[in-house]
């Protein structure tokens, strides 16, 4: 079994455990402000980091290419309250278009 399969299965199973544990924990965990603050902030930090690495890195290099323009287009679409699928497809179209023109 490949490493990727092991990671897929292990992460999926542990993801279920994460959900299940919440129902078993004593409710007063919620009253600890630091717990809920970290839980709220973690997705924000991770998603911010993923936006950056997905846009401007290639392996261990920092790269500026058509993805940055596509991300800008995505930001505009989000600001215009476009649905998720429109944002994602819009960004892909911008990047594919620029590359077809030989840019980025």
């Amino acid at each position: 079994m490949s490493l990727v399969w092991i990671a897929v299965i292990a992460a999926s199973a542990l993801s279920f455990v994460q959900k299940w544990v919440g129902y078993q924990a004593p409710p007063d965990v919620l009253d600890r402000p630091r717990v809920s603050r970290v839980t709220t902030l973690l997705p924000i930090a991770l998603l911010g980091a993923l936006v950056a690495t997905q846009t401007a890195t290639s392996g261990s290099l920092l790269v500026l290419d058509a993805r940055l323009a596509a991300l800008g287009a995505a930001a505009v679409l989000l600001w215009l309250r476009a649905p998720f699928l429109v944002v994602v497809v819009g960004a892909a179209v911008v990047a594919a278009g620029l590359r077809a023109l030989g840019i980025g």
């Binding site: 959900k19 402000p33 839980t39 993923l50 596509a70 998720f84 590359r99």
Partner: protein, 278 residues
């Protein structure tokens, strides 16, 4: 439709019609969220997973942000372990939802396992808009089951289609992944603190990219959140506001915004209503 929605926003709604509205809302959330399973499936196969691996992620992991993180780290050349860790860090919020939902959902048996599996942003958010236990349950199950069905269906469609894409970059699929992360982040940027943390995390990820193995910069950036969360806050009032709305923050703001007022009023009476139902 208009009649039911009007009823739902009134102070003393007719329960049956409110429940119908909630279930219909759950179905539309399921369809809308499920549709972007297409982009997950396509990006998963573009980043090197096969159709079956993409389907296991959607059927078992079943939490969109974590799934996108998994394929994002892997597609960026990161290790399988890095992908798993990133997805689990993003999944921590689901534990918080369980804590919040536990009092209003049935425990034990297959329903106990099902409520855990269906605990995601959308189901937690729709449950949070209910003012009675029956409404919370209806919202949770309606959104959870519909998202599950449509998310898996459209993941399959996207994964099969994605297999035939020879050069993902030529189709802009790498940029689509970046846009997907931005779209997941966007609704969470409702306070200055959130923006600061997102930007700081982005900078740390970029700065550490040349020196750390692929995948680890994302995890290093997550430390920003942990440090910021554990530090004594200079603006306690502001941060408490963020905490109080954690569930409404995640995901379905569209619906919760409409009913937020109703929920605030209903929280105090929810227990009484539960008694009455029995």
């Amino acid at each position: 439709m208009t009649t039911a929605e009007t009823t739902a926003s009134q102070a003393s709604p007719e329960e049956a019609s409110t429940l119908r509205t909630i279930r219909r809302t759950g179905l539309s959330i399921g369809l809308a969220t499920g549709l972007y399973g297409i982009s997950f499936g396509a990006l998963a196969t573009a980043s090197g997973l096969d159709v079956w691996q993409a389907m296991v992620l959607s059927a078992v992991m079943f939490t969109g942000g974590s799934q996108f993180a998994f394929i994002g780290v892997l597609g960026g050349g990161g290790s399988a372990l890095g992908a798993a860790l990133a997805s689990l860090l993003l999944g921590i919020r689901n534990t918080l939802y369980g804590l919040i939902l536990a009092p209003s959902l049935p425990r034990g048996g297959w329903r106990g396992a099902a409520r855990a599996q269906l605990t995601i942003d959308e189901s937690a958010a729709l449950a949070a808009t209910g003012t009675t236990t029956a409404q919370k349950r209806a919202g949770f199950w309606a959104a959870g089951v519909s998202v599950y069905v449509f998310w898996n269906l459209f993941t399959l469609v996207g994964a099969i289609a994605g297999q035939y894409v020879a050069d993902p970059a030529a189709w802009g699929l790498d940029a689509a992944a970046a846009a997907a992360f931005l779209a997941l982040l966007w609704p969470r940027l409702r306070s200055g603190d959130a923006v600061t943390i997102a930007v700081a995390a982005a900078f740390i990820a970029l700065l550490t990219t040349p020196v750390l193995p692929p995948g680890l910069p994302v995890l290093a950036a997550a430390l920003v959140a942990v440090v910021a969360g554990l530090l004594p806050s200079r603006r306690p009032v502001h941060l408490e506001g963020v905490e109080d709305e954690s569930v409404e923050d995640e995901g379905a703001q569209r619906e919760s915004a409409e009913r937020e007022g109703a929920e605030r009023e209903g929280t105090a009476t929810a227990d009484g209503a539960e008694e009455a139902e029995r």
